[in-house]
């Protein structure tokens, strides 16, 4: 049994301690906004925040997440108000298929927390998620929009 704190709520899950956090979030807790893309921490579709830092949840075992604040895409909006990154994504029509965008948004939200006015170089260094639709141009533009919002 592991006690996880996800989006401010405690969840007791009965899983093997070596289960990837991604699958516990998706299957045991039932929050499916966090996506499976590769399982080897390459693509970033499974990005969540662990104590405010962007982490690829497919590469973290659940036992390492115990006692930490886990935030998923479902918990990014505070009190029904979209996070500024989510707003910029809507206003700038960033997602195409959208499958990678939960992870993309979580990675960007973590970047803006660290660097509220990121340069293009900061973006290049921090955002390494794969998007096969190729939304990068809009992602970059929307990051700057969110940073000035």
């Amino acid at each position: 049994m592991a006690r996880l704190t996800i989006n401010g709520t405690a969840h007791d899950v009965d899983v093997d301690p070596n289960t990837p956090l991604l699958w516990v979030i998706r299957e045991n807790v039932g929050l499916t906004g966090t996506k499976y893309g590769c399982g080897i921490a390459q693509c970033g579709a499974c990005t969540v925040h662990i104590d405010g830092v962007a982490v690829r949840s497919c590469g973290m075992v659940v036992s390492d997440a115990v006692g930490k604040q886990i935030t998923t895409i479902e918990g990014l909006a505070a009190g029904g108000t979209l996070h500024k990154v989510q707003k910029a994504w809507v206003n700038h029509d960033v997602p195409q298929c959208g499958y990678c965008q939960s992870g993309m948004i979580m990675a960007v939200a973590a970047l803006l927390r660290e660097k509220p006015k990121p340069t293009d170089a900061d973006i290049d260094a921090a955002i390494t998620n794969i998007c096969r639709c190729g939304t990068f141009q809009q992602v970059r533009e929307a990051i700057h929009m969110a940073a000035t919002a």
Binding site: W23, G37, C43, D93, V94, I127, C133
Partner: protein, 728 residues
Amino acid sequence: MNYVPTLNRRSFVIGTAAIGGGLALGLEIPLGGPTVVRAADGSPEINAWVVIRPDDTVVIRVVRTEMGQGTLTGLAQLVAEELECDWSKITTEYPTPGQSVARKRVWGDFSTGGSRGIRMSHEYVRKGGAAARMMLMQAAANEWKVPVGELTVANSVITHKASGRNTTFGKVAEAAAKLEPPKDVALKDPKDWKVIGKPLLRLDTPDKVTGKLVYGTDLKLPGMLNAAIRDCPVQGGKIKSFDAAKVSGMPGVKKVVQVGDSGVAVVADTWWHAKTAVDALPIVWDEGESTKVSSATIADWLKAGLDADQAFVGNENGDAKAAIAAAAKKIEAVYAYPYQNHATMEPMNATARWTADKCEVWVPTQNGEAAFAATLAASGLPADKCDVYKTYVSGGGFGRRGAFHDYVTQAILIAKQMPGTPVKLLWSREEDMTHGRYHPVMQCKLTGAFDKDNNLTGLHIRLSGQSILAYIFPQNLQNGKDPLTFQGLMPQGQEHAFGYTVANLMIDHSMRNPHVLPGFWRGVNINQNAIFLECFMDELAHSVGQDPLEFRRKLMSKHPRNLGVLNAVAEKAGWGKPAPQGVYRGLEQMMAFNSYVAACAEVSVNGDKIKVHRIVAATDPGYAVNPSQIERQVAGSFVYGLSALFYQECTVKDGRIEQENFDTYNSMRINEMPKVESIIMPTGGSVWGGVGEPTICVAAPAVMNAYFAATGKRIRSFPLKNHNIQMA
């Protein structure tokens, strides 16, 4: 127009029956009295495309699949333009293939590939919107007992100015639904469009930013179990045996089942449990004869085709052979293009529930009807006992989810072994990478002939490699020839026509079909054909000391739309003017899917690193329904095309694909993204072009031609990683 309305008493003819170009369809409902077809919530259908709810919500039916390309929004714009409805009150709905079959395919083709979504259905969906508007207005006219010609309509409000009355679509929908559909439906002149051509925001964004959107991978049904599968790693191979007892006691495992003759799946409470168990499952394969095949044997076979006597002729005029024999100067080059996987972000998946009386499938698919056909075949049940529910959005498609529904077949074969229990089958990334329907392999020998005055007198393009149709739709071969192989090289008048005039031309194809299954892939054959042709045009130009733009222009006087996009990118990019220090330019133009596209790339080269700084890209699709979405498709297509150019190859060893995940099959990231400047220059006409695919092919040749300008080196086999070149 002032037709006399009559109520249907014996039959209700679906609105598009009278109006849908090419859709001679009707639905007979054997009931007395007025009959209205109703949506699931009871709201009346005005016709198959439009449902109006009492609260004025406009439900637009869409059967093409949204997978990121924006077709959902674009098709809704087409209907809304003619319907004159309030855009803020629009929602969309996917009819199921089962409903379509029951209604004699009233919605037409579901297939969403070949950049067809908008270009092949624009007319009948606009007519659907127009017919619904006419019926709604007629219903208002009947209520007010005034001629319909005195009414005006805008934003879902119908007004009779003379009497100062107005009403809304929601209030007259019930009456409108009972009217006979109009027989003559006129469409607006494009100059009067107010919704088409506007850069409207997509309809499907909000739930994508909150994690609420349910993709196929996210589906939950009561009592549902999860399946992970291993299919034979050598395509065409079979299962010899597996030892279910070794894993049946593992956590969560419910059942181990064989799937067809080539796969085995573990069904468990969670997918993680299923995947863990299937990874541990001992399986013995009968891999068959194809284990002798490798990338090297395939390459050798294709190479032999470059000079083979027998070849299918795709395009010819004059006598290329004689022109080459008589040439004052001959230029020759050989190019090669690899196997590539689609690598959609959402791996293949399908959820099935089967009983002896009913089979239902929930699936992200580019073609609901093809998924339905796979469902009928695998379930053993008739059409009226099956249905397929498409997920709202597919997590990418790029061709993988169109013609093949192997994952649907597998899901049903698993579900049949657990009747009544819904089973969600999800492929691991590794399963997805190694069981693709790959971008076909192709080699190409190009030979150009010049006379003594350096005029291009002849060109022979010999393709050697794989045909997609031969595997998928052999009935579409033309006396053995696969016309799609010649995308971008076809004769004039076709939707992928060759964009130059060469006095003596021969373009032919030696077909060589290895066991590795090919498939449609964003752009497919334009990708390699654009590299072959447009890099070689650059080679030809340089071989006679001519500017690549001027060299092309001389061959394009009879191709004004090709020339139009090429000139547009040259001008905007500043071709002929100095580039920034260390930056070099390259050009490309092509026609595909009835759209004309061109690019000018700017690159710099530092050792083994190429930085693509900027790509100016022009598209003439005839009509631009949503310029904002077109811009996004253009920029996105370059990510797909440049990832392929720099990084992507599926190699074959012992008959199997070697790359299993993104660590060996890379995809470019944001730091590698060039600045993309789109020029959208629709020139109208009677033919509409596609958008999702055409521009994918322009990035790679433009970059390679710029690389030559920078280095004087030609690279003719791909991806560039094989030459130790990286993207900076």
